[in-house]
């Protein structure tokens, strides 16, 4: 059971939100959708949930021999970007109502509500009005709403936003538990460190297009650079000197004294170091293994630059 997205295109008025997007989500994995604001993640999520349909291309998910053009509501758990429940109602009423709407009987719904509230240290707020909870706790209740009916497919749009680091870690544990329960999680987020910990595979989007796609290793290969060397010189360095030594390497020259080099897996640090020392006297040198955050920034910058050319 895989979710297949093939050559999907979507426009709103004169804006093309999604351009020829192709990827697949495997059952039981945590799949991350990454990209800056306006990259088209929410448009994509809305098509996956069936709120909107692609203008061209197709989305397909086969369940029990039946092919669906989006994730069917009876197997979907969803945390929308636009959060909201019934603030006047109690936590219990909110959770049991949504569970019942998804086909869970009241007793099981209550049992599940208590289970997940306990996991988030919120069990004592079961009978409290939702509006009396802090914003972060309301967010946790909304997360529980998305999974209380134990769906097979879960889409979480920005599950970490509005949470402090401690609660972000709780959400990481929560998502790992969902995976352990056999749920497939599609996650849209900006917190790269969290995504790096969790995601089996990911899709990095920019301006509605695929920039990077695959697992972390695949992405590192696609980016090419895995290590960044940051060197600070005593004197000024000219762009011509740099170009002469590093014509095959990505670099950034800041304030005429600081150089950042993105090294590929094939390039040795020693080789780069000898070239750097030939340019002048080094006063500082840092070697950084590029994390997802760095890969993301580099890839988006590169994609943006290509688009502007």
């Amino acid at each position: 059971m895989e979710l297949l997205v093939k050559n999907v295109q979507k426009s709103y008025a004169k804006v093309t939100a999604i351009k020829n997007l192709t990827f697949k989500v495997k059952q039981g994995e945590i799949f991350a959708l990454l990209g800056p604001n306006g990259a088209g993640k929410s448009s994509l999520v809305r098509m996956l949930t069936g709120f909107t349909s692609p203008d061209s291309g197709n989305i397909s998910l086969t369940i029990d021999g039946q092919t669906h053009a989006s994730i069917p509501s009876y197997t979907l758990g969803y945390l929308p970007e636009d959060r909201g429940l019934y603030p006047e109602k109690t936590v219990k009423k909110n959770l049991t109502y949504f569970a019942q709407l998804n086909g869970v009987d009241k007793a099981t719904a209550l049992e599940q509500a208590k289970y997940w509230l306990e996991r988030f240290d919120l069990l004592d707020r079961l009978d409290a009005q939702l509006k009396t909870l802090s914003k972060g706790n309301q967010q946790k209740v909304q997360l529980i709403t998305a999974v209380i009916h134990q769906p097979k497919w879960v889409i979480l749009d920005e599950p970490f936003s509005g949470l402090d680091p401690i609660n972000q870690e709780k959400v990481v544990t929560f998502l790992s538990e969902l995976k352990a329960k056999g749920m497939t999680v599609i996650l849209s987020a900006h917190q790269m460190s969290m995504v790096e910990k969790l995601a089996d595979r990911m899709l990095l989007m920019n301006l509605g297009e695929t920039v990077l796609y695959g697992n972390l290793e695949d992405i590192q290969k696609q980016v090419g650079s895995t290590t960044q060397l940051k060197a600070k010189f005593e004197g000024e360095i000219s762009r011509e000197q740099l170009e002469l030594q590093f014509n095959n390497t990505e670099y950034i020259l800041a304030e005429e004294k600081t150089v950042s080099l993105n090294l590929t897996a094939q390039q040795s640090i020693n080789d780069a170091l000898s070239k750097l020392t030939s340019l002048g006297t080094l006063v500082e040198l840092h070697s950084i293994k590029m994390d997802l955050h760095q890969l993301y920034l580099n890839a988006i910058a590169k994609h943006g630059a290509l688009k502007n050319e």
Binding site: R46, T49, Y74, Y78, E81, G84, Y97, L101, V104
Partner: protein, 401 residues
């Protein structure tokens, strides 16, 4: 997790919607007030029945004599007026004492003395007046029939060549007007609440979460049914309150027997289906409007909300010309039929096919408005907070997405 059927989801949303606006405390208080009024009416009736033979009226010897009548017993007394007045004030032996002033300009003046103001004094005055008139007619040598003729020399009645028009005395007119008033209460109850409910949920951003569980049509259907239940609750409460108010004014204030012949019982079975389609149509219409409103504080579309008042007003205005083209047209026109046809039926006898056709046309419109509301909501979701133009709305209602 079981796959939830559409019917189950609609019922769940219906009950959620109903209970969302159902306040137990408020309901208990209002129903207790109604029960209290009903008890007062019943007790008053009982007290009144018990008191029927208690009114004893003392008539001094020098005063015109009256015959016992109904609840009044007139007793001739040889005691002076002053003594009788004392007995009235201190001993409670009498309920009233009469005193007659010598006639001036041939009109005698009878004064009724009582301890305090009582509602039965009006009836006593009426009885005394009737007996005085008869006594005077007798003194003139007039018979009872002559006196009746003198009071009313001719009677007038309207007759129409169109045999279908009911008589002026038919209770249908009162029933129809009452129905329109009650229907207005029901419609505006659901109208207001549904507007608050839909725009409220949109503002609380709960709609996208709901949309993930069910189709927009299921959600809209549940909302319409939930608010319809509120409408009927309001209409039933209004009916009971109206009946109690009528009973109160009749029994307690006017001291009369309750007269339920003001209700046209033959019209009642027709009023229910027309009330159902009428409330459904207006509630679905409201759902369609609210589904297209993103921010109720800054929307120009809220002015459309007064539209459901029109069918009721038009039906009332055209009521006096039941055979005219206006009421005939309105009674079939699906937007007004739910109000106009019962009004027409109250003043004119119509063949069976007419209300049935009227109901059918309204039901078809109801179905279209309800699916349009679902479509409007679905399309509104893709507007990302922008409000659709009237042109967009018309296109969506025509299902040209």
């Amino acid at each position: 997790m079981n796959k939830m059927t559409r019917k189950q989801q609609v019922w769940l949303v219906t009950s959620w919607e109903f209970m969302h606006f159902f306040k137990w405390k408020q309901e208990i208080i209002s129903k207790l007030i109604l029960i209290s009024i009903a008890l007062v009416v019943m007790l008053w009736q009982q007290i009144k029945d018990d008191q029927l033979t208690l009114y004893k009226v003392a008539v001094p010897a020098n005063t015109t004599q009256f015959k016992d009548s109904g609840q009044f017993k007139f007793s001739l007394s040889n005691k002076s007026f002053e003594v009788l007045k004392l007995e009235l004030a201190e001993e409670g032996r009498w309920d009233a004492v009469l005193s007659e002033t010598p006639a001036t300009n041939s009109i005698k003046k009878i004064t009724i003395y009582s301890k305090d103001k009582q509602s039965w004094l009006n009836d006593l005055t009426l009885t005394l007046n009737q007996q005085s008139t008869l006594q005077y007619a007798s003194s003139l040598g007039l018979a009872q029939e002559q006196l009746t003729l003198l009071n009313q020399s001719a009677s007038f009645e309207n007759k129409y060549l169109d045999d279908n028009i009911k008589s002026e005395n038919s209770p249908g007119r009162t029933t129809a007007i009452t129905m329109l008033v009650i229907l207005s209460v029901g419609i505006f109850t659901s109208f207001g609440q549904l507007f608050v409910s839909i725009t409220g949920e949109k503002q609380q951003r709960v709609t996208e979460q709901l949309y993930a569980c069910m189709s927009p049509q299921t959600w809209i259907d549940g909302k319409i049914f939930g608010q319809m239940l509120h409408s009927f609750k309001a209409m039933i409460t209004m009916m009971i309150t109206g009946l109690l108010a009528y009973a109160f004014t009749t029994i307690v204030v006017s001291n009369k027997m309750l007269n339920l012949s003001i209700i046209d019982w033959s019209l009642l079975p027709w009023l229910l289906p027309f009330a159902i389609v009428g409330v459904y149509l207006c509630t679905a219409f409201m759902a369609a409007i609210a589904a297209a409103i993103d921010d109720p504080n800054h929307s120009a579309k809220t002015s459309i909300m007064l539209l459901p008042l029109l069918p009721m007003l038009l039906a009332l205005i055209t009521m006096d010309s039941p055979s005219g083209w206006a009421l005939s047209f309105l009674s079939y026109f699906p937007l007004t039929a739910f109000a106009a046809m019962p009004v027409k039926m109250s003043v004119i006898d119509v063949p069976l096919w007419q209300p049935l056709l009227s109901l059918l046309l309204t039901a078809i419109l109801c179905f279209w408005v309800r699916t349009s509301a679902g479509n409007l909501f679905k399309m509104g979701m893709s507007m990302y907070g922008k409000e659709p133009s009237l042109k967009d709305m018309v296109m969506w209602m025509l299902h040209k997405n």
